[in-house]
Amino acid sequence: METLQLILKYLSGKASQDDRKAMETWMSESNDNKSLFEDIKSIDEQSNSLQNINLIDTDVEWNAFMSKVNSSESAKVIDLPTNGKVKNLSTNVFRRRVALSAAASLILILGAIFLFPNKFKEIHTGDMPFAMTLDDGTKIDLAANSYLKYPLEFATSAREIFINGTAKIDIAKDPSKPFTIKSPLTGVEVLGTTIDLEASDDASTLGVIEGNVSMFPAGKKSEAMLLKTGDIVRYTSAGFEVLTEPEVVPEPEPEPEVVPEPEPEPEVVPEPEPEVVPEPEPEVVPEPEPEVVPEPEPEVVPEPEPEVVPEPEPEVVPEPEPEVEEIPRGKFKMGTFIDYLKKTHPEKDNFKLKGGVKYDKNDTINVSISAPLSTILKQLEEKYIIEYSDDCDGCFEIKSMIRKK
């Protein structure tokens, strides 16, 4: 430990003359010393460049790779490693892609130069969360399996980023530049505040840790909903839903927050904070209060970004009976998900894990959490081989779960 600190001091250039001398002597004493020094030096150098690294989820890429390989394998006759046919196939695929993207990238590059002086940077977190600070001082804690896109430099009149996933965002105050966070379904506009955002293609959940925020369906600022400190709101194709509950504590490394939908009865909001006044028909939230959020500046109108903004379902008509499609479906970690099941479907009800059932807590699974239990189990069975126990009458008791290959 002592040695490490000396090395670090030496590397930072802050070591005294004597310390430097001692360090150099120490280094020349043995190869072990020398290699310890070299290792620490390269960790130091490389970790200073960590900001430039993007970690891509290799599992996702591997699956994409396998489907690519499999499709070219089925196209050819048999697996002959250096067979010219195979080669041609794969390079043709690549060539075609390049050709296709060439026209598009011409436009993109021109666009980048003339329309948007800003270059964008993208971050996909894999298994690891990622914390960063934007150039305006805004701090973003991006959870695992999330996506962030942001300009290297913000425009002069507005700040805008795109998030699909879970993030805690501490926005630097700058009243002259409203900060807009776009997601597949919603936009969130703020002037300076701290929020928790969980956004996917199906739902956006926003928790306001501090400050005033306006949240609106993508492209529809007129339907904005105003939120204050402590408010938690979810937006799905069914509209807004107030979920305010204090348990969403900002954790630097948030799990995908499983917001339990107790019953398919959207009006039965658990303990709503009085000031939010949960209107049963949430989307009908009228004109935003002018004094809180300044009328949206025209320049914040989201530039259409082809890959990101799927047209939101403008479901303005409130459906009292949730259709199957409205059930939030999302990726959850097995641990979180099983805990949720245990809570919502306790033994006396119909779900139980027999002692010692093992599963990978961090494995993610795509499920509709508020679907009927049997449907959920069916979804589980897509990924796991589940053995049920017979001991339990009229209820599901899981004896073992084995991840399918």
Binding site: L8, S47, L50, Q51, P81, V98, K139
Partner: protein, 174 residues
Amino acid sequence: MSLENTKNNTVESLFKQYYNPLYNFVNSKIRNSEDAKEVVQDVFVKLWNAKGKIDLDSPTIKSYLYTMARNTMIDAIRKKRDQSDVDIDNLDAGSIATDDGDALDPYIIRTEIMKSLSILKPKTRQIFKLNKLQGYTYEEIATHMEISVRTVEDNMSRAYGLLRQELKKNEIFS
């Protein structure tokens, strides 16, 4: 250590080990995430098609992958240049081609550091990230976290020590 036949690499294990280093290498040159992914995917398609013919456990597999990545990237740039009139001036294929294999290690080390951060204790990890990812000085971190500069230093050297162990374990360092 285990340079002999103890590795049993598969295309999949190599993919998971080298995807991020290769991606970051290519992306640092062409500065286009999608194209970089495409290039790396194509490298592994080539590897897949050559399996059985090359030794996946060979100690030179790394330079083999990087060489393929370099060539694939240059091909991609050339083709793009031919098919559109875009002048990709900062994409000088010549300079990419002369890059020496050893210079590529940084991406492996960085990727590995990022992955290894999870072994650090939360506090140590936070301090390390504040310093290295967000650029705060030790003094700023000490003030922010209400601890002494000495504690920050202790945590940093602990982080370095643990990271080194981890990198050794994964044979990044010999």
